[in-house]
């Protein structure tokens, strides 16, 4: 019997990610996996389950709830964590929430800063996590193309793109001082197509919002927004129409544009993706609200 020593690209990516995840579990005292409930997070979470099977994943999952997430996301999150036995932490910037911060009243920049970035930083400080996994990919955005897999953050959680540690082979430098931390991106080398392929191959559950369905939407500044609760401002309420739409990425509902689509299966989604020319983050409102905005947000501590 001759043996085959070839691995498909997906199996190679999987092996690389598992290696990264285990390295973090071994080298850090208090890691956490950040969970955005999106498709990339779903893949990352499955990879963590794979890394420690048949054991339990030795770190918790944390969701930063901006309080403006789609209801279907929250439901999915809770069901998934329960079904797969995850220790789930949910944190929000309750102070800002009580003050009524939201994208409609404060704009996307302030909202994202307070409800996502600040909420995340508060939570990281609260639990004193020394490593945090994120599901970001290098093919997503220009500033991410250069980010390390082990990305060093100072005491203030800031990223310094000019001063990154060299990262070679599969040897990751996990040394930090007290108070500093590392953001870890096990999906760095995955592309959007790889993610969909893997979801299809592994039957990974994802939030149904990714699949096309008749849903109520309203056009706001050129984006198709699906009002998910009664916080939609008055002036848009009579402009709601039903359209067959789906989401390419998931975030806060007022900041995530839907696309009109017929893709109600993974095959159709991939097909649509292959023939579309827009990159996936074009439906994200926050990327365009200031010059070089993702790099700026990342410097400040956003993922």
């Amino acid at each position: 019997m001759s043996e085959d020593y070839n691995l498909s690209h997906l199996k190679q990516l999987e092996a690389e990610s598992i290696h990264i995840i285990r390295e973090v579990a071994a080298e850090f005292e208090n890691p956490v996996m950040l969970y955005s409930i999106g498709k990339d997070s779903s893949v990352m979470v499955r990879l963590a389950e794979k890394a420690f099977a048949p054991g339990k994943v030795p770190f918790p999952l944390m969701h930063i709830d901006s309080k403006w997430k789609f209801k279907e996301m929250i439901q999915f999150r809770d069901e998934y964590a329960k079904k797969y036995g995850w220790n789930l932490i949910v944190e929000s910037n309750m102070k800002a929430f009580k003050e009524g911060v939201g994208p409609f009243t404060h704009g996307s920049k302030v909202h994202t800063d307070l409800m996502k970035t600040q909420a995340l930083l508060q939570a990281l400080d609260k639990y004193k996590f020394d490593a945090a996994f994120g599901g970001a990919r290098r093919d997503e955005e220009k500033s991410r193309a250069k980010e390390r897999i082990f990305s060093f953050r100072d005491r203030f959680h800031q990223w310094d793109p000019k001063n990154q540690r060299p990262e070679l082979w599969d040897i990751y430098n996990a040394k930090i001082q007290k108070g500093e931390s590392i953001r870890v991106f096990p999906l760095s080398n995955w592309t959007e197509l790889d993610i969909w392929q893997y979801i299809r191959l592994e039957n990974i559950p994802i939030v149904p919002l990714y699949f096309a369905k008749e849903r109520p939407v309203v056009e706001i500044d050129g984006n198709l927004i699906m009002p998910d609760d009664d916080r939609l401002p008055e002036q848009y309420r009579d402009k709601i129409v039903m359209k067959k739409i789906r989401f390419r990425t998931l975030g806060c509902w007022p900041l995530t544009g839907a696309i009109e689509s017929e893709a109600d299966t993974i095959e159709k989604i991939v097909e649509e993706m292959m023939t579309t020319t827009k990159s996936e983050r074009t439906t994200r409102v926050i990327d365009f609200d200031q010059e070089a905005s993702m790099e700026q947000k990342k410097r400040e501590g956003y993922f």
């Binding site: 190679q12 054991g55 250069k146 990262e167």
Partner: protein, 589 residues
Amino acid sequence: MADNNTNNEKMSIKEFLDNDEKKDLLRFLTAGSVDDGKSTLIGRLLFDSKKLYEDQLDALERDSKRVGNAGEHIDYALLLDGLKAEREQGITIDVAYRYFSTNKRKFIIADTPGHEQYTRNMITGGSTANLAIILVDARTGVITQTRRHTYLVSLLGIKHVVLAVNKMDLVDYSKERFDEIVADYMKFVAPLNIPDIQCFPLSALEGDNVVEKSERTPWYKGPALLDFLENVHVGNDHNFKDFRFPVQYVLRPNLDFRGFCGKVASGVVHKGDEVMALPSGKRSKVKSIVTYDGDLDYAFPPQSVTITLEDEIDVSRGEMLVHPDNLPTISRTFEAMLVWMDEEEMDVNKQFFIKQTTNTTRARIDGIKYRVDVNTMEQTNVANLKLNEIGKVVITTSQPLFFDPYKDNKSCGSFIIIDPITNNTSAVGMIIDKVNTSDLFTPITEDDKKKMLVGESLVSPEQWQERIGQKGSVYWITGSDKKHRRELVYTLERRLYDIGQFVCKLSTDSLGLERMSSRDVAIVAHHLSKNGVAVICCGSELDPKVCRPEFSSLHIKTEGDDARDYTSNETVIEPTCIAQAVEDIINKL
């Protein structure tokens, strides 16, 4: 390639996905500057392959909004904008990773800048690459930069090199010019032992021989670049011979399961194989190779698996499972090629951390054998290495490493050096081999030569003291009561050992074949103590008078003994107080 070109065959999305998920992966490095047309070449690969992709999916496309013309309206350089902006702003140019795929393969490009001050970026990007594309401008041919890139590629052990002779349009697609450049390159590259070198006449701008073969180079018989990239066989670049499994994480979900998680660094392991754990040398058999998706019969690199063993043997992170008939080198001292990556230059007196496989320990750079000029490959003697400099060094670690030479096994021959204060990755290295302590590097200075003439050691007692953390000492133990003298000698030896001292007992009675005189003992003891050793001199013949003033003299008091004072250092010990006397000595250290 046949299936690529049959346009009539329409592929369903399901077929496409089924095919896609089986594709393998090629990671490659592009080295060259924007002037060589690197961005145009990458742009073309990225864009033209995407077009190929869409052609494949023609049947699936619902609208025909696709651009049909092959016009030159795309500014490829825009794709590389990130890097360009960085250069204009004068900030660190880094490695940028780009992704594309064809219906044959997925590709990860590590796009690195070409100038000498970016050597570390090229090393970083090349560390995970299977293949390197080195660009030359057909007008200028092989230049210093080409040599530097090729040297770095060979240093990293990249087995496949593509020499992309670009801008052929500007030399009228001249076969003679191409042949001249290739001959020039081959002559230079021969000593570097790169197993696979392919040369392509290209015009990235015009698209010649990039994605499709060009009619303008009828004399060129090879494939188009993309065709080559899609088909080059890199599966054997992994070492499948020497099984090495650095344990990454120990999994103990319950009392019945104890699994060793890790990535197969090299070789192949089968269920039932006899394995040995390093450094303990304990043996067992592989009980199972566990993954989330079920047990495997065998595992190979770069798979991440969990191995369980038949026997309960203790193995922790940083240790290694291997086949007992195929061991790696186990050594604390080795030679390596080191690339300095830190703005702060190397400090040879500093103790660093070294991380190799999953093992982290302390390391010291004993010395630099030479520095390599990355442009000319000339070797120079230097005292330290600065940013982007490469040298052959000798490194000693505090715990032994289990390694293979990098050329045979990248995973077990590579390491990083971490600064203990800044925690920065200061340097990276590739192990050449272990060194015998006798071959250790020693630069001989004029001062040294004077010392050598009078037989003085080149390593000072102070250096020894720093190295082993103890100051040499000599205990000169005399007294005619043999029983009590022995008790003192052995108690002292044991206690010094217990507190971590290097200790050596020298006796006039029992050393070697011939008895030593007191004088001999004093000379040997003196020498050992200069090397930091604690020496206990004893024996029935040991003469108190020979004791040197720098020695501590311990005299066991015997019946009727008078307290004598041969040296100012003498301590007279009552036979009943030996244990206390030893503790006093230890406490004073």
